[in-house]
């Protein structure tokens, strides 16, 4: 059977046809609510897993300077690692610049990734407030939110990223076989 990538995107609209089942093997134990809460940190585009807390761009600027600027540059454009700011309007040119502002389709992913894996040498060291603040700062530097906007579990999922509709499925094999 061929598993065509485009079909997986369509699959999101399908319902998995499973009736209620009883366990067969009875191994392992029930996950406790507090265990689930402690690990349930992946943030969906609708933001339902976002924790309480909030942060502003001004607070984020200070946190960014101390924790992020060494790798991503003073204003997010200088590197040496991934460029985070700028590039809007370049994706269909000969020199596309893929950044948070020009390429990332969801603001929730910014929060998720900073919270998950950054700073590289001290992942998980920022508080929820600090992650909201750095996210606000990056969105503000990219001109996506106003400088005084406050990011929290309610406002962040509502942010409309410029490249929100920039992703498509994949039609491969897309080459002609000789």
């Amino acid at each position: 059977m061929r598993w065509c990538s485009a079909r997986w995107v369509l699959a999101t609209s399908l319902v998995w046809p499973l009736a209620a089942q009883a366990p067969t093997y009875g191994l392992g134990r029930a996950a406790k609510p507090d265990e689930i809460k402690a690990w349930d940190s992946a943030i969906s585009p609708d933001g339902k897993e976002l924790p309480p807390g909030s942060g502003s761009s001004a607070e984020g600027a200070r946190i960014y300077a101390a924790n992020c600027a060494a790798c991503h540059g003073k204003t997010g454009k200088e590197g040496p690692n991934d460029v985070l700011v700028g590039g809007q309007g370049t994706l269909n040119t000969n020199k596309p610049v893929k950044t948070v502002g020009s390429y990332w389709p969801y603001a929730t992913t910014v929060w998720d990734y900073i919270n998950r894996a950054m700073p590289y040498n001290k992942p998980g060291s920022l508080t929820s407030d600090q992650v909201y603040a750095v996210t606000a700062y990056l969105l503000s530097l990219n001109g996506i939110i106003k400088e005084d906007a406050v990011m929290n579990a309610k406002t962040l999922p509502q942010v409309k990223m410029p490249n929100r509709n920039g992703f498509i499925g994949d039609p491969r094999p897309d080459w002609k076989s000789h």
Binding site: S5, W8, T12, P23, S41, P105, F167
Partner: protein, 400 residues
Amino acid sequence: MSKSPNRRKFLKSAVLAAGVGVGRAQNSGDQQPPPDDPTKVPGWPARAYGERSRFEKTVRAPSSQGTSSGAPLQDLNGIITPSSLHFERHHSGVPDIDPRRHRLMIHGMVDRPLVLTIDELKRFPSVSRIYVMECSGNGFRNKGAKTAQDAHGLVSCSEWTGVPLALLLREAGVQPGASWIVAEGSDAAKMTRSVPLAKAMNDVLLAYGQNGEAIRPEQGYPLRLFVPGWEGNISIKWLRRIKVVDQPYMTREETSKYTDLMPDGKARQFTFEMDPKSLITYPSGGQKLGPPGFYEISGLAWSGRGAIRKVEISVDGGRSWSDAELQSPVLPIAFTRFRFGWKWDGSETVLQSRCTDEHGDTQPVLADLVKARGDHWSYHFNPIQSWKISADGSVQNALV
């Protein structure tokens, strides 16, 4: 045979002396030469954990940043990549995990959220399967690469042992409306990818074994997701959590990365399957042929969509093609070893291979891919690889 204490003592000390002597010779810093005639001195005694001959030197090639290392494809035989030489790719280093403390949690849209230890997981019915694993970015724009390892080394093939994920999902009881899972690792990147539920229920494994022993740390010890045929990074290593959900979570590794920009500015997303690809590993870049005469061209072919049906060889730069012999076993989503007898006349030429999988998809030339996708894509790079043979027998990368 005499069992006198003196004789036993003598034998014991002789074996110990030999063992200690050879043991020293096994250390890399020791240059003690081997005996002129190995039939004239006893060898070393049995060892608890084997290692290769000290004369074998092939190694992986770690990248300058240390985030990946390519397998030395040009030095490998058959279809199985030794675990020590299996390519690596990780996003925040290789974590050091005590399996006794490791837990797998399954939660989200399930009737019974579960926590399992590794020992509990291993009590489920398991399967072993030989599968290729290829990094999404393997081979991209490899014009500067000299060897098969440098150009295409982020692919390997192992026997993986694990529990079908479908068993665990049924055990937890997937709820109506669920359509994806989110898998998360316990490395410093907490690497996370979304996988369609239909694939998860089909052939995905929770793998704990590799080539007969525990999965190596670089491959996700003590537990990894194994998603057959799909780009490597979706097979989340050091797996600690599976959440059953109703949408893809659009993680960084499926939006910002591992997506391909097309000329119109749109980006292709969720390109899961690795395309059919083949590669001549002998002769290949950096190697040198001897005098004109017979050579066996050999290489590897694979497809993330199934079994390889055909590999063709050109020894004249793509003007003519002949079928190579496919060596058994020819397994779906696994390395297939191909061989082709060739008499080199000593003149300059270009060697190429191209494979066709069970769906009839044939490996393209680079120009066809550029025509279809432009210049700003980077993943799933599978064009025909060319190796130029010079008149002096030297072999160079000539990707065209």
